[in-house]
């Protein structure tokens, strides 16, 4: 490397700095958690207008809480994966004004925190005289794609949650066809396992679960999946 015109460093210091240049891998569990949080936050920003966040000591935690309020497909998948959970489908597909989830709904084992008094999320009201829909921000093609992904898997999630397992396979197949490597492929495959298990397709469910574990070895969905998947004979 061409040295800057400053005092030269000793050979020992050079060796130390050279040893530091290769970046070591981060701890796998830290990486898995952080990427999952980032992915949820990423989807949330594209699925809904950005809420105004009041500053707090942990702004990312607030944003992730907001993420859970507006783009809950990961967590919906988790709920659907719970062995005994047959939760009703949401009454409305508009999740944008959903309240932050209660602590009990934080099923992902993540570090997401309940909002404290100083960590309230403030959704700015729409301009007077305008409908909620008309205040939507301009979206990029990528944003639209993420919204479509979410919508498709919401259908699958709702079907699984209401035990209509065969109905879940159609949106799962649609998502597979349109977004084979989409951001929500992990949730899609988890829902596939649950749907197949619900249909009594034990072998297919086990095979799908095996593929899931191979493809997403650090997934936060894995423990639920493991518990809810029947063992193939």
């Amino acid at each position: 490397m061409k040295r800057a015109p400053a005092e030269p460093t000793s050979p020992e210091i050079e060796r130390l700095l050279a040893a530091e240049r290769d970046v070591p891998a981060a701890a796998p569990d830290l990486k898995a958690r952080a990427l999952e949080h980032a992915r949820v936050a990423f989807l949330a920003r594209r699925a809904a207008p950005t809420p105004t966040l009041v500053r707090s000591g942990r702004p990312w935690a607030v944003a992730i809480a907001a993420a859970m309020a507006v783009a809950t497909i990961s967590f919906a998948a988790l709920r659907a994966l719970a062995p005994s959970a047959v939760v009703p489908a949401p009454s409305s597909t508009n999740q944008q004004n959903a309240s932050p989830p209660a602590p009990a709904s934080n099923t992902a084992g993540t570090k997401t925190e309940t909002l404290g008094p100083r960590e309230q999320i403030r959704n700015d009201p729409p301009p007077s005289g305008s409908s909620t829909g008309s205040a939507a921000p301009r979206r990029s093609p990528a944003t639209d794609a993420h919204a479509v992904e979410l919508a498709i898997l919401q259908r699958a999630r709702a079907a699984v949650a209401s035990a209509r397992f065969s109905a879940a396979l159609e949106p799962i197949a649609e998502h597979q066809r349109r977004f084979p490597n989409g951001l929500l492929q992990e949730e899609r495959e988890a829902l596939r396992v649950k749907a197949l298990a619900g249909l009594g397709e034990t072998e297919a469910a086990s095979a799908a679960a095996r593929r899931f574990r191979e493809k997403f070895p650090n997934s936060v969905l894995s423990p639920r999946l493991e518990a809810g998947t029947p063992k193939a004979p």
């Binding site: 800057a4 015109p5 400053a6 700095l17 970046v23 980032a38 992915r39 702004p59």
Partner: protein, 170 residues
Amino acid sequence: VNEKRSSFDVFQSEFDYLCRTLRRLGVRPADVEDDVQEIFLVLDRKWAEYDPSRPIRPYLFGIAFRVVASRKRRLRREVSDAVDEPIASTPPPDEVLETVRARKLVVQALERVPLPRRAVLVMHDIDEIPMREVARTLSIPLFTGYSRLRKARKEFEVAVLALRTHAVES
């Protein structure tokens, strides 16, 4: 607008670099997760402003530096649970251990360099980013960049010597 590569793609591919950068900037291991998430939120919010013709690492370093500086201002403290950890003075059994020890020593020595100068040293001497880009990223004049680098190298060298001495004595 970076339609082809999303902020999440970049965050994922540069995750290890970001975590290491935070450690180099003096963030405690226990705080790395919080800070790396904050970096992602900033990156995602500003992604449309990023010029893809510029190298990504200086850009990410700039975000990391500001997150760390902001935290420091907020907390008015900068601590490390590794500062007083002695460096083993016995010969290493193999090359891997030597690398681990060297990395540890570098991080500990960096902690003794004030943050503004440390940022220049890390960017230029470790990340090998040209000084002009360093100055641009940190929003400082080029001359100031060189001045900080010169001081930081001296401070770093003194810190390494002190840590080595401390290790031998203990």
